[in-house]
C-alpha cells in the first residue's frame, strides 16, 4: 500500500510538471508553487501558493485549473481537490474549481469569453525569448557571423542543445514548423525578416527575454520571502544575465560536475 501511495505521489508530481506558469514559461513544480500534495488511495488534494496575494487572478486561475485537469486525467484519481492559498481571489477561485465552474462561471461579469488569447500571447512571448537565446548562442559561437545573416538560419543549423530543444517545444506550442529547413528568425505567424530588419527584431526579442527572465527571478525571490523555506522547492534557473564567458563552460568541467 505504501508503495502504491509513493507511486501515486510520483504520478501527481509528473502531472503537475505539465502545468506551466504562462508568464514565466516554467512548470509550477520548478517554481515552488506547489505547497502540499496529499494522496489517499483514490483521492488527491493539492494546495498551490503564489509569490503575492495580488498576482494576476487570470494567471492564478489558469494554473489552478490546469492543475486540476492534469490530476483528473490520472486513471486512479477519482476525487481531485485543488486549492489556491492566500490569494486575494482564493475564495472565488477555489469555489469555481470545486464546482468545475470554468473560467466564465468562476469570474462572472469580469470574464468575457475565455483565456485562450491570453495563453497565446504568452506562448508567443515564450517563443520569442527561446528564439533569441538560440540565435545569441549562435552569434557567440560564430564571432564572424553578421547579425543580418541570421535571417536565413534554419533549425538544422542550430546545435542540438537545451536551448534548441526548448525552441522546438515553443514553436510546436504556437503551431510553427519544426522541420529542418524551417527558418529560426520568424515572428509568431512564422513570417521571416529581411536581413536589414533582423538587428532591430533581435534587439526587441532580447528585451522580451530579459523581461521574462527578470520576472522569473523576482517571483522566485518573493515566494521565498513570503514562504520561508520554499526556495528549497525551486529548480535552478539561469539568471539570463551571465557574462558570455560564464555560459561557455569548458567540456572538462562539465564532466567533472555532471
Amino acid at each position: 500500500m505504501l508503495a502504491v501511495l509513493t507511486d501515486r505521489h510520483a504520478d501527481v508530481r509528473s502531472a503537475l510538471d505539465t502545468v506551466i506558469d504562462p508568464e514565466l514559461d516554467e512548470p509550477v513544480t520548478d517554481l515552488g508553487f506547489v505547497r502540499s500534495v496529499d494522496v489517499e488511495v483514490d483521492a488527491v488534494t493539492v494546495h498551490l501558493r503564489l509569490p503575492t496575494s495580488f498576482c494576476s487572478p487570470n494567471f492564478a486561475y489558469l494554473m489552478a485549473s490546469d492543475a486540476k485537469d492534469a490530476l483528473a486525467a490520472l486513471p486512479w484519481a477519482d476525487r481531485v481537490v485543488v486549492e489556491l492559498d492566500d490569494h486575494h481571489d482564493s475564495d472565488l477561485i477555489n469555489r469555481g474549481l470545486a464546482a468545475d465552474a470554468g473560467y466564465v462561471g468562476t469570474f462572472g461579469h469580469e470574464a468575457e469569453s475565455d483565456l485562450d488569447e491570453l495563453r497565446l500571447t504568452f506562448r508567443r512571448k515564450a517563443h520569442t525569448a527561446a528564439m533569441e537565446r538560440c540565435l545569441t548562442r549562435l552569434l557567440r559561437a560564430e564571432p564572424d557571423r553578421t547579425v543580418a545573416s541570421l535571417s536565413t538560419v534554419t533549425l538544422a543549423e542550430l546545435v542540438h542543445d537545451d536551448a534548441t530543444a526548448a525552441l522546438r517545444r515553443r514553436r510546436e506550442a504556437i503551431g510553427l514548423a519544426t522541420t529542418p529547413r524551417a527558418r529560426v528568425m520568424v515572428d509568431a505567424s512564422g513570417a521571416g525578416y529581411a536581413p536589414d530588419d533582423v538587428p532591430m527584431a533581435l534587439r526587441r526579442a532580447r528585451s522580451t527575454r530579459i523581461s521574462i527572465d527578470g520576472n522569473a527571478h523576482f517571483c522566485r525571490g518573493l515566494l521565498a520571502t513570503r514562504y520561508p523555506g520554499s526556495e528549497a522547492d525551486q529548480a535552478y534557473r539561469p539568471e539570463g544575465t551571465e557574462s558570455a564567458d560564464v555560459t561557455f563552460i569548458p567540456l572538462a568541467e562539465l564532466k567533472e560536475h555532471p
Binding site: 495580488f54 534587439r203 523581461s211 527578470g214
Partner: protein
C-alpha cells in the same frame, strides 16, 4: 543634493507616498494583503541594514518622511504620487490631508500630485476641477487596477478616461503618472499590458505619460511603446532596488531603457516608503554597466545626473541651481537611441 568625487547631483524623488496601512485603517483583508505584499517587496529587495520592521512599515508620518528624504536621503525635491485604494482602507492608502499639509509646510521641497478615477463620472470630474485648484496640480497618479464597487480596474482608453484627460489638458495637469496593476476587467487579457498608454499618448500629445515601474513586469512592451511616442516616459519606482539584489539585471533594465527611450525620459524614485532614497542614490552614483555586457554602452555621469533629478525637474519646472543643470541630449525623438552600441553577440 548628493556630491561624490567632485560631481554634484540634484536629486528629485519622483514617486513617494505618505501612507497609512495600520490595522485600524484597514477596511478588510485586502488592506492587509496589500501592505503585506509591499512589505515582501521591501524585505526581498532591501539590503539588511535598510530593512524596516513591519510596524514601522505600516505608517511613517510626515516627520519621518522629511528626515528620510531631505535630511538623510540627499533629496532636493520629492513628488507625492498617492494611491487611493478606497476599497481597502478607511481613509484611503495615501493620506491626502497629511501629505498636503506637509507640502505646504515645506515650500519648494514637495509637490503634491493627486489621483482621479474615471469611474466616478461627472461627480469625479467636478472634484478634479476643485482638486486642481486646491493643490495647484501639475500631475496626477493613476492606478488602473484600483477596485471600485464591482469593478476591479479600468483602461486609459475608456471613454470616461478621455473626458478626464481633456479636463487635465484644460487645467494644465500635464503629467500623468500611470501605475499598471494586476486586476483589471476583463480578465481575458494581460492586465499589465501597456497598450492603452500607446493610444492615449498618441491622442494627447500635449500630455506627458510617465509609466511607473518602467512597465515592469512588461518592460519589453513599455520600451517598444515608449520608443515610438515622444511623450512617454519611464519612472524607476520598484526597478531601483534591483541595483542591490540583482545588479546585472538592473544593468539590463537601464541598458534597455537608454537604448530604447534615451537619457532624457527616465526618472529616479525610491518609491518611498517602499524603500528609502539614501542607499539608492549612493548605489546609483556608484553604478556602472558591467564591462562584459558589451551590448550596452557605459552609463555616463551626465546620464546619471539627468535620471537622478534633472529629467523630473524639467517636467515639473523645479528650479535647479545653474551649476547643476545640463542640456538635453541631441537624440532622436523616436526609435532606438544607441543603435551603434548594440553589440548583438553579447548578452
Amino acid at each position: 543634493m548628493y556630491t561624490k568625487d567632485g560631481e554634484s547631483y540634484f536629486i528629485v524623488d519622483a514617486h513617494i507616498a505618505l501612507w497609512d496601512a495600520r490595522p485600524e485603517n484597514q477596511k478588510n483583508v485586502h488592506g492587509k494583503q496589500f501592505i503585506d505584499c509591499f512589505y515582501d517587496y521591501h524585505a526581498n529587495l532591501s539590503p539588511d541594514a535598510e530593512k524596516w520592521t513591519y510596524e514601522e512599515y505600516l505608517y511613517q508620518g510626515g516627520e519621518r518622511l522629511v528626515k528620510d528624504l531631505f535630511e538623510d536621503g540627499y533629496v532636493d525635491h520629492a513628488i507625492f504620487q498617492p494611491a487611493h485604494l478606497g476599497e481597502f482602507y478607511e481613509t484611503g492608502f495615501g493620506q491626502t490631508e497629511e501629505a498636503w499639509a506637509l507640502t505646504q509646510a515645506h515650500p519648494g521641497k514637495l509637490t503634491y500630485n493627486h489621483h482621479f478615477d474615471p469611474r466616478n463620472g461627472e461627480a469625479g470630474l467636478e472634484q478634479l476641477y476643485l482638486d486642481a485648484q486646491r493643490f495647484d496640480l501639475k500631475g496626477v497618479k493613476l492606478y488602473t487596477a484600483e477596485w471600485h464597487g464591482e469593478s476591479r480596474g479600468y483602461k486609459l482608453t475608456d471613454p470616461w478616461a478621455y473626458r478626464y484627460f481633456e479636463a487635465c489638458r484644460e487645467l494644465g495637469i500635464t503629467n500623468i503618472h500611470i501605475h499598471k496593476g494586476p486586476t483589471i476587467r476583463p480578465l481575458d487579457r494581460d492586465a499589465f499590458d501597456v497598450a492603452d498608454v500607446d493610444h492615449v499618448a498618441t491622442d494627447f500629445t500635449d500630455l506627458n505619460f510617465v509609466v511607473e515601474h518602467v512597465g515592469l513586469p512588461r518592460l519589453e512592451d513599455f520600451c517598444w511603446i515608449a520608443t515610438q511616442e515622444p511623450n512617454v516616459h519611464g519612472g524607476l519606482a520598484v526597478a531601483m532596488p534591483f541595483i542591490h539584489t540583482r545588479p546585472r539585471y538592473f544593468a539590463q533594465i537601464i541598458g534597455e531603457l537608454l537604448y530604447w527611450i534615451g537619457e532624457d525620459r527616465i526618472q529616479f524614485s525610491s518609491d518611498y516608503a517602499l524603500w528609502t532614497p539614501r542607499w539608492l542614490v549612493e548605489a546609483f552614483v556608484d553604478f556602472q554597466i558591467p564591462e562584459d555586457m558589451t551590448e550596452y554602452a557605459p552609463i555616463t555621469t551626465e546620464q546619471k545626473k539627468k535620471i537622478l533629478g534633472l529629467n523630473a525637474a524639467r517636467m515639473y519646472d523645479i528650479d535647479v541651481p545653474a551649476e547643476l543643470r545640463l542640456p538635453e541630449a541631441d537624440e532622436t525623438e523616436t526609435g532606438p537611441r544607441q543603435p551603434e552600441a548594440a553589440d548583438m553577440a553579447a548578452v
